[in-house]
C-alpha cells in the first residue's frame, strides 16, 4: 500500500513540473492544445495528491506501523478522529497536506476560473504549479510520508496528548487553508501585472481569493486561542508566542492588503504599496512556516527542535521574493498611481492610515519575534522581548485602528467635510461615551479598559448607523417593514454590508479582549472533601476525587458542585494520564457563559483525597469565540456578492465638490441597474 502512495507522489511531482514548465512556455507560444493540456495537468496534480492523502489516511486508520508517519504519530489506542488528524500532526504528513491543499486551489483555478479570467489564469496556474514543484519535491525527496521504519512494529508511538483535542483537529486544516490560500492572490497579482491587466479586471478576482483565505486564517487564529484556552490550563488564550505570531503576521498583512485593494479599486492610488502587501501576505506565511519548522527560535513555549525542512523554506522564500521583485520592477509602469491624494482628511486618507498601522503591527510582530536572533547577531547575547513589549505597542495601535474603523464609513472620498463628518458621528460618539461611563461603573477603571470599551462601542454604533440609514432610505422609498428594508439593503450590496458585519465581529472580539483583561480573578487553593468555597457569586462544594478509564488514558478528576443563582452544575477538572507518559495533561473544566467563564484546573493531589485547584473567573472570553462566528458570516456574505457585480457602489455624498460629483455620477452610471443612494 505505501508503494501506491509513493507512485502517486511521483505522478504529482511530474505533473507539477509539466504544468509549471509547459504552462509558462505556452504563455508565449499560445498553443490552444498545450493550453488545455496544462489545464488537465493541473487537475492531475490534485488527483494524484488526493490519492496520496487517501492512501496515508488509510494507513493511519488501519494502523500500518511500518510506515514512519503512522508509527511516529499514532498508536492502537488513539480514537479514529485523532488517527485521521495525525495526517497533519507530523512533519512529513503536514508537508503532503500543504501540497494537497495548494493542488486543490490550483486545480479549482484551472478548472473553474480558466474560462472566466482567460488572460490571468493561464499564467497564475503555472506560478502555483511552480510552488507545487517545491512541495511535491519535498514530499518525494526530503520528507516522504511513506518511508518505512526498520523492523516490524505492531504499535506506534502515539500522538502528543496535547494534540488530542477536537479544536486542535479542526484548527490546523483551517490554518492551512488560510495560509496556503494566500499563494493564490499572490499568483494572480503576478499574472495580472505581467499580462498588464487593468485593475478593474484583477481587483475583484484577487479580492475574492484573498477574502476566502483571510476568513479561514482569521478563524484558525481564534481556534488556536480556543485550543490554548481549553487545553493548556493557564487561563489565557494569547501570549505573543512565536508560534502565535507566525500566523498573526500574514493575517495583519492580508488585512492591510484587503483595505489597500479598496483604494486601488476606487482611486488607483498607492499601487506599489498594494502590490507589496499582496506579495508580503504570502511571503509571511513562509516566514511563519520557517519559524515552526526550523528550530531557530528557542524562546517559544513550543520546543521547536528543527525538523530539517526549515532551510528549504528559506530557499523558497528568497526565490519567491526575488521573483516577485523582478516582476514588480519590470512592470513598474503598471504600478504608477492614477490619482494623487487630495487631502489626508478623506476616506483614502483613513484607509492609508489603516494600512500603515496594520503594516506597522506586522513589522513590530516580525521584528519582535525575531528579536532573539537579531540581538544575538548584533549584541552577541540573546535578548527576548516580553509580552509587555507586544502589548504596549499593539494596544494603542489597535485602539487607533478601531477609531478609524468607526470614522471610515462617514468619510467622503477625495475630501471629507469636517462639519458633515462631525454631524454623522454625533450619535455614535454619544453611544460610545455612554458605554464608557457604564463600563466605568462596572469596574473598567483604567484608561485603556474604559477607553477601549468607549471607542469600540463608538465604532460599532457607527457601523449599525450605516445599516439604519440605508434601511430608513428604503423604507422611505416604499419598502414595507424594517426587516424587509434591512434585508433589501444588505442584499443589494452584500459586499459592503458583509464588510460592515466583519468589522462588527472584529469589534466584538476587541471588546472580548478588553473585557477578559478586566476584573479577572485567579486563585489557587487546596480543598478537602466536603469543604466549600465561595467567590464572585459562585459557591463550590468539593466532593472528592474520582478515577475513570478512557480510550488511551486514565482520568483523575476533582468533583465539584458549583452553584450560582440557584443553578447547580457539576464540574470535574482533572488530570489525564496517557500511556507511556508519567506526567499528566490538564483536563480543564469550563462553566462558560456570555459574560464570564468559571475556569477550573486541577493542579495536584497532595493526599488524603485533597485537591489543589486553580480557580479563574475570566470575563467576556466567549465574546472572542462569538466574534469568530460573526466574522465568518460577514465574510461569507461579502463573498456572496455577484461575481462581476461586486464592485462597491459609491454613494453621491461620498464625493464632494463639482468635479467629484461628476465622477460620482460616472461611477454610478457604470454599474447597470444599481442605485448608489443606499
Amino acid at each position: 500500500m505505501p508503494e501506491l502512495g509513493r507512485y502517486a507522489l511521483l505522478l504529482a511531482g511530474t505533473s507539477a513540473f509539466y504544468t509549471a514548465g509547459i504552462g509558462a512556455w505556452n504563455y508565449r507560444a499560445q498553443s490552444a492544445r498545450l493550453k488545455e493540456s496544462t489545464r488537465g495537468a493541473a487537475v492531475a496534480i490534485a488527483l494524484a495528491l488526493t490519492f496520496a492523502v487517501l492512501v496515508l489516511e488509510y494507513l493511519l486508520v488501519a494502523g500500518d506501523y511500518q510506515v514512519q508517519a503512522v508509527y511516529n504519530h499514532t498508536d492502537r489506542a488513539l480514537p479514529l478522529l485523532f488517527k485521521m488528524g495525525a495526517l497533519w500532526g507530523g512533519d512529513a504528513g503536514s508537508v503532503l497536506f500543504w501540497g494537497w491543499i495548494l493542488s486543490l486551489y490550483t486545480a479549482f483555478a484551472a478548472w473553474r476560473s480558466w474560462p472566466r479570467e482567460d488572460r490571468m489564469t493561464p499564467l497564475a496556474v503555472p506560478i502555483l504549479a511552480g510552488l507545487l514543484v517545491f512541495f511535491t519535491g519535498m514530499s518525494n525527496l526530503v520528507v516522504n510520508p511513506f518511508r518505512l521504519v526498520a523492523g516490524n512494529p505492531v504499535n506506534g508511538a502515539g500522538l502528543d496528548p496535547l494534540l488530542q483535542n477536537l479544536v486542535m483537529t479542526i484548527h490546523p486544516p483551517a490554518m492551512y487553508i488560510g495560509l496556503i490560500g494566500m499563494a493564490v492572490p499572490a499568483a494572480y497579482l503576478m499574472a495580472a501585472l505581467w499580462t498588464r491587466m487593468p485593475s478593474v479586471e484583477w481587483v475583484p478576482v484577487i479580492r475574492r481569493w484573498m477574502l476566502f483565505s483571510w476568513m479561514f486564517l482569521s478563524a484558525a487564529i481564534i481556534l488556536g486561542g480556543m485550543w490554548a484556552y481549553m487545553e493548556l490550563g493557564w487561563g489565557g488564550y494569547w501570549e505573543w508566542d512565536p508560534v502565535e505570531n507566525a500566523s498573526l503576521m500574514p493575517w495583519l498583512a492580508a488585512t492591510a492588503f484587503l483595505h489597500a485593494l479598496q483604494i486601488e479599486e476606487r482611486r488607483g492610488m498607492f499601487r506599489w504599496w498594494t502590490a507589496l502587501l499582496g506579495i508580503s501576505s504570502f511571503l509571511l506565511t513562509l516566514v511563519g512556516t520557517y519559524i515552526t519548522r526550523s528550530g531557530v527560535l528557542k524562546n517559544s513555549v513550543h520546543s521547536f527542535t528543527g525538523t530539517g525542512v526549515g532551510p528549504y523554506f528559506v530557499g523558497l522564500f528568497w526565490t519567491v521574493a526575488v521573483g516577485a521583485l523582478i516582476v514588480l520592477v519590470l512592470r513598474r509602469d503598471q504600478l504608477r498611481d492614477k490619482m494623487a491624494l487630495t487631502t489626508a482628511f478623506s476616506k483614502e486618507g483613513i484607509y492609508l492610515l489603516i494600512n500603515m498601522l496594520f503594516a506597522s503591527l506586522a513589522t513590530i510582530v516580525l521584528v519582535g519575534t525575531f528579536y532573539p536572533v537579531i540581538s544575538k547577531a548584533v549584541l552577541g547575547t540573546t535578548v527576548v522581548l516580553t509580552v509587555h513589549f507586544f502589548n504596549s505597542l499593539s494596544v494603542p495601535i489597535f485602539l487607533v485602528l478601531v477609531l478609524m474603523l468607526g470614522a471610515a464609513p462617514v468619510m467622503g472620498w477625495r475630501a471629507a467635510r469636517l462639519r458633515q463628518v462631525v454631524r454623522r458621528l454625533g450619535v455614535p460618539w454619544a453611544v460610545g461615551l455612554a458605554a464608557c461611563v457604564l463600563a466605568y461603573t462596572q469596574g473598567f477603571r483604567t484608561v485603556l479598559q474604559c477607553g477601549g470599551v468607549g471607542v469600540s462601542v463608538f465604532a460599532a454604533a457607527s457601523m449599525v448607523q450605516e445599516f439604519y440609514r440605508a434601511a430608513r432610505a428604503r423604507r422611505r422609498s416604499g419598502t414595507p417593514g424594517w426587516l424587509l428594508a434591512l434585508y433589501g439593503t444588505v442584499n443589494s450590496n452584500r459586499r459592503r454590508y458583509g464588510g460592515y458585519i466583519a468589522h462588527l465581529a472584529f469589534l466584538i472580539i476587541v471588546l472580548g479582549v478588553v473585557g477578559s483583561h478586566t476584573n479577572n480573578l485567579a486563585v489557587t487553593t487546596t480543598l478537602r472533601p466536603g469543604q466549600q468555597i465561595a467567590m464572585r457569586g459562585y459557591r463550590m462544594m468539593y466532593r472528592g476525587l474520582g478515577t475513570s478509564s478512557h480510550g488511551g488514558y486514565q482520568l483523575l478528576d476533582a468533583r465539584l458542585d458549583v452553584e450560582r443563582g440557584g443553578r447547580v452544575v457539576r464540574e470535574d477538572p482533572g488530570l489525564e494520564f496517557f500511556r507511556g507518559s508519567a506526567q499528566p495533561v490538564a483536563a480543564v473544566a469550563i462553566d462558560g457563559g456570555v459574560m464570564e467563564d468559571l475556569y477550573l484546573v486541577l493542579e495536584g493531589t497532595p493526599g488524603h483525597q485533597a485537591a489543589t485547584v486553580q480557580i479563574f473567573v475570566n470575563p467576556m472570553v466567549s465574546w472572542i469565540w462569538i466574534g469568530m462566528y460573526v466574522l465568518v458570516a460577514g465574510t461569507l456574505l461579502a463573498m456572496g456578492a455577484p461575481a462581476h457585480g461586486d464592485a462597491a457602489l459609491v454613494r453621491a455624498w461620498e464625493f464632494t465638490g463639482e468635479d467629484t460629483k461628476r465622477r460620482g455620477r460616472s461611477i454610478l452610471a457604470a454599474v447597470p441597474g444599481r442605485s448608489g443612494h443606499d
Partner: protein, 133 residues
C-alpha cells in the same frame, strides 16, 4: 509645501513615533535569554538582573511542597546545573526531564528565584517521544 511632501512628512512622523516606541519598548520590556551553562559562565554580569534561563528539569531533583506551594528542582544544560525555587502551582505539562524556561533572578542563597516557569510543549511536527527510528 506641496501636498505630496506634507503627506510624506506625516507618514514619516507616524513611522518615526512607532520606531521610537519600538526602541523604548525593546529597552524596557526585554530579558536576556540564556542557557544554564551561559548563565553560569557569566554569573557576575547577570546576577543582579531578571533573566530567562533555559535548561532541562532534572527529574530526580523535582520536589513539590503542596502546603507551601513551593516547587524546587535543578535546571541543567551542558553539564552545568542551577537550583531553582518557584512559588506557585505545580505545572500541568509533562514536566520531568522536559525543557523549561524560568524567569527571575539569582537569590542571595545561590538558588535562582523563579517568578515564572514555562514548560516547553513537545514539538508538534517532531515524532512523539517514544518514537525511535
Amino acid at each position: 509645501m506641496t501636498k505630496k511632501l506634507r503627506l510624506q512628512m506625516g507618514a514619516l512622523v507616524v513611522l518615526g513615533a512607532l520606531t521610537y516606541l519600538g526602541f523604548q519598548g525593546a529597552h524596557n520590556f526585554s530579558n536576556y535569554f540564556l542557557t544554564v551553562s551561559q548563565y553560569r559562565r557569566d554569573m557576575g554580569r547577570f546576577s543582579g538582573m531578571a533573566v530567562r534561563v533555559q535548561g532541562t528539569m532534572l527529574a530526580p531533583s523535582v520536589q513539590y511542597n503542596s502546603a507551601t506551594s513551593t516547587l524546587r528542582f535543578r535546571l541543567v544544560s551542558k553539564g552545568q546545573s542551577l537550583p531553582i525555587i518557584y512559588h506557585g502551582a505545580m505545572p500541568n505539562e509533562q514536566f520531568k526531564d522536559a525543557s523549561a524556561i524560568v524567569k527571575g533572578h539569582m537569590g542571595a542563597n545561590g538558588t535562582f528565584d523563579a517568578q515564572k516557569l514555562e514548560i516547553q510543549c513537545p514539538d508538534h511536527y517532531a515524532a512523539a517521544p517514544n518514537a525511535s527510528t
